[in-house]
């Protein structure tokens, strides 16, 4: 019997099976059972390279199990289970198949031991996930999905190009820690950076995630970006550049998260900020900070999914996720509100919730290594996250101005999924050892010190105070139906405009040049015709004899050539 097989194939088999089964309980069973079985298998796998396959003379390592890949695979299975539970009402075959194939690809990529296998699964996540956006089946979603796909696939193309260059240099495809230097490594970093939503490269995230279906966004939020974080942690730990990249990531999206009206877009921006924390952790590169990155990815998948689930439930019941249209839903959706609040408190890192025990690892690592400015930036991002991802959502959806909407409480499968996710957020916060024991390195860190608890409460309580005062004084930006231009404007508006303008100008120049040339040629032709034509002045004085003479000369030349 085979000891181990690629867990990804279990998901692909499940996805294929789904298409054959009739809609209903059987499919629901497959959707829930596959991630659970995979979780059980992964939990019990031994470490090492467990499975390799031959593809065109290349040995592919499909199951590299170590502490780093195992914890990511575990949280991916948990996220897939929770998201599928949340989406249990969905009857759309496309979404069900895409959900399983997408989570399977992400798990496959995490276990990939070499760059070729990583590339295959990397593209797999791109191609499967876009269907969760297209499943909305509107013109806007089609266009957004296309933009998303182009960017995701180009990330894969860069990965492939980098792989080829690295193979040329070292003759090896193994995916292991690298130092930046050659073009190949830079290409890999750029490829990971696109998926991890680096500044100026990551606007696809806030563009595409709010366009997906209610349940699709929950699934999307877990995998692609965290896979990129895994790849960074595996490939570029301790790359100092990443500290600054990550710090910028925690700052820039903040403005948009404060302004945005679409709350799922607010959450996408705030997801980008959380990725910034993880990238900083990778950049610092100590055992503590790498543990922090992994722990934060683990906790982040849960509380982010919880927030997307909460806002998604509101969208499901009211038809909108825009702050300007919502308000006062605490009356009829109190449970959803509580779950959202737990998610918000987790992301804001309240003590005894999951964000606290994961984020503090990264902050402490930055302080211990003397990156004081970075520490200050992260502290700021941490406080302001409470503003936009917590208070703004709770205030605009569940309290604030009454929208008059009285939607029913979220359906039972959504409540169950949210409840379980919220329970996990609390459990991780109260029993951090549950998470710390799974981390890649041994953890010697106590998150619950008196100083840490008191200072964290100070930070967050005063952040709440500032929010309340700003809203009361009417200074907080009003939520209006609008869009806020971000870097995606450059390829959605500027580039098409520039290209359009250039095309127009080149077209005009071409017409001008050809018209000029044509006129010149016509002039020459008519000039010649005038002078040498039948009616031309020169033709008039040509005697017939001169033509006969020239014919004779030509014949003589032909004779001469013949004899030579």
């Amino acid at each position: 019997m085979v000891e181990a097989f690629p867990i990804a194939f279990l998901f692909f088999a499940g996805a294929a099976l789904l298409a054959l089964l009739p809609k209903g309980a059987l499919r629901a069973g497959v959707l829930l059972a596959v991630p659970l079985v995979a979780l059980y298998l992964i939990w019990n796998l031994p470490e090492g390279n467990l499975f390799s396959a031959q593809l065109l003379n290349v040995e592919l390592e499909l199951m590299r199990v170590d502490r780093l890949s195992r914890i990511f695979a575990i949280i991916f299975c948990v996220a897939a289970f929770l998201a599928n539970l949340y989406a249990l009402h969905v009857k759309d075959t496309v979404q069900q198949v895409a959900a399983l194939a997408y989570s399977g690809s992400a798990i496959g990529a995490v276990f990939a031991g070499d760059l070729i296998a990583l590339f295959l699964f990397w593209e797999g996540t791109a191609i499967t996930s876009v269907f969760l956006i297209w499943a909305r089946r509107t013109e806007g979603a089609l266009a957004t999905g296309m933009r998303y796909l182009i960017i995701q696939v180009s990330s894969g193309v860069m990965l492939l190009a980098g792989t080829v260059l690295i193979w040329q240099e070292s003759g090896s495809f193994t995916f292991e820690a690298m130092t930046l230097g050659s073009l190949g490594t830079w290409l890999l970093l750029a490829s990971f950076g696109i998926k991890a939503a680096f500044p100026l490269m990551g606007n696809w995230l806030s563009d595409a995630y709010p366009a997906a279906t209610v349940t699709g966004t929950v699934i999307l939020s877990a995998f692609t970006t965290k896979l990129a974080i895994y790849a960074l942690a595996r490939g570029f730990p301790g790359t100092e550049l990443l500290i600054y990249v990550g710090a910028v990531m925690t700052l820039l999206p903040t403005l948009y998260a404060i302004l945005e009206n679409d709350l799922r877009r607010v959450l996408a921006y705030s997801l980008n900020i959380q990725l910034g924390f993880m990238v900083v952790g990778v950049g610092i590169g100590t055992e503590l900070s790498l543990n922090g990155t992994v722990a934060h990815a683990f906790a982040g998948i849960l509380y982010k999914a919880l927030l997307f689930m909460g806002v998604g439930a509101v969208l499901y019941r009211t038809g909108t996720a825009k702050a300007s249209e919502l308000g006062g839903l605490h009356r009829t959706m109190p449970l959803t509100m509580i779950f959202c609040a737990i998610g918000a408190m987790s992301i804001a890192a309240f003590p005894w919730l999951s964000g606290f025990i994961s984020k503090s690892l990264i902050l402490s690592a930055a302080a211990y290594k003397g990156y004081y400015i970075i520490w200050g930036v992260l502290l700021f991002a941490s406080a302001v996250t409470l503003h936009h991802s917590g208070l703004k959502i709770l205030h605009n959806v569940f309290f604030g101005q009454d929208s008059g909407l009285r939607p029913k409480e979220a359906p039972v499968q959504m409540l169950l999924a949210m409840g379980m996710t919220a329970a996990l957020c609390i459990a991780l916060g109260i029993f951090p050892a549950m998470l710390y024991d799974l981390l890649p390195f041994a953890v010697d860190y106590a998150p619950y010190t008196l100083t840490h608890i008191v200072t964290q409460f100070q930070l967050l309580l005063f952040a709440i105070l500032s929010y309340v005062l700003l809203v009361k004084s009417g200074f907080y930006p009003a939520m209006k139906r609008s869009v806020y231009l971000d870097t995606d404007w450059s390829y959605r508006r500027m580039a098409p405009a520039v290209i359009g303008y250039a095309a127009l100008m080149i077209g005009r120049m071409w017409t001008g040049v050809t018209r000029f040339a044509l006129r010149q040629l016509t002039d020459v032709a008519t000039g010649l015709y005038k002078t040498h034509g039948p009616e031309g002045r020169i033709a008039r004085v040509w005697p017939t004899g001169s033509m006969v003479l020239w014919v004779a000369v030509l014949l003589a030349a032909a004779l001469l050539v013949n004899f030579l």
Binding site: T451, L461, L465
Partner: protein, 125 residues
């Protein structure tokens, strides 16, 4: 179910908290969101803030960064930095704000969410 639908037309206009349709938790939150209770909650927040600020003088802080030693550093940082971010966002928003249909039809912002993916059950129809 039918009972709730009968009451529906008035539900939207009724005062918060007096709606019999509401789930028990919803009634509790309505009571908390009533203007008077909200005021009390606000003062409770102020008291909590003050308490956490003063707590700084009561114990020995273990610090790694020198600014941490300033009493109430985290409080001031939380208050002013977040407020600063909001001010900055507000200014930035003036530059980059566009109408909702700016990117239409190639974006979902101006679209309504397709009904067949939703289940808009409401108490007030």
């Amino acid at each position: 179910m039918s009972d709730q639908q009968k009451k529906a037309p008035s539900a939207g206009t009724q005062e918060a908290g007096s709606n019999g349709d509401l789930p028990p938790l919803g009634r509790l939150f309505s009571a908390l969101a009533a203007p008077k209770a909200a005021k009390t909650l606000f003062y409770a927040l102020v008291v909590l803030c003050a308490g956490s600020f003063l707590a700084d003088f009561l114990y020995h802080k273990h610090t790694y960064v020198s600014v941490e030693n300033i009493p109430g550093f985290y409080a001031l940082y939380g208050l002013f930095m977040t407020a600063g971010a909001v001010v900055l966002a507000k200014i930035w928003g003036r530059w980059v704000r566009r109408d909702q249909d700016y990117y239409a039809p190639y974006d979902v912002d101006a679209e309504t969410y397709p009904q067949d993916n939703l289940n808009e059950e409401r108490h007030n129809g």
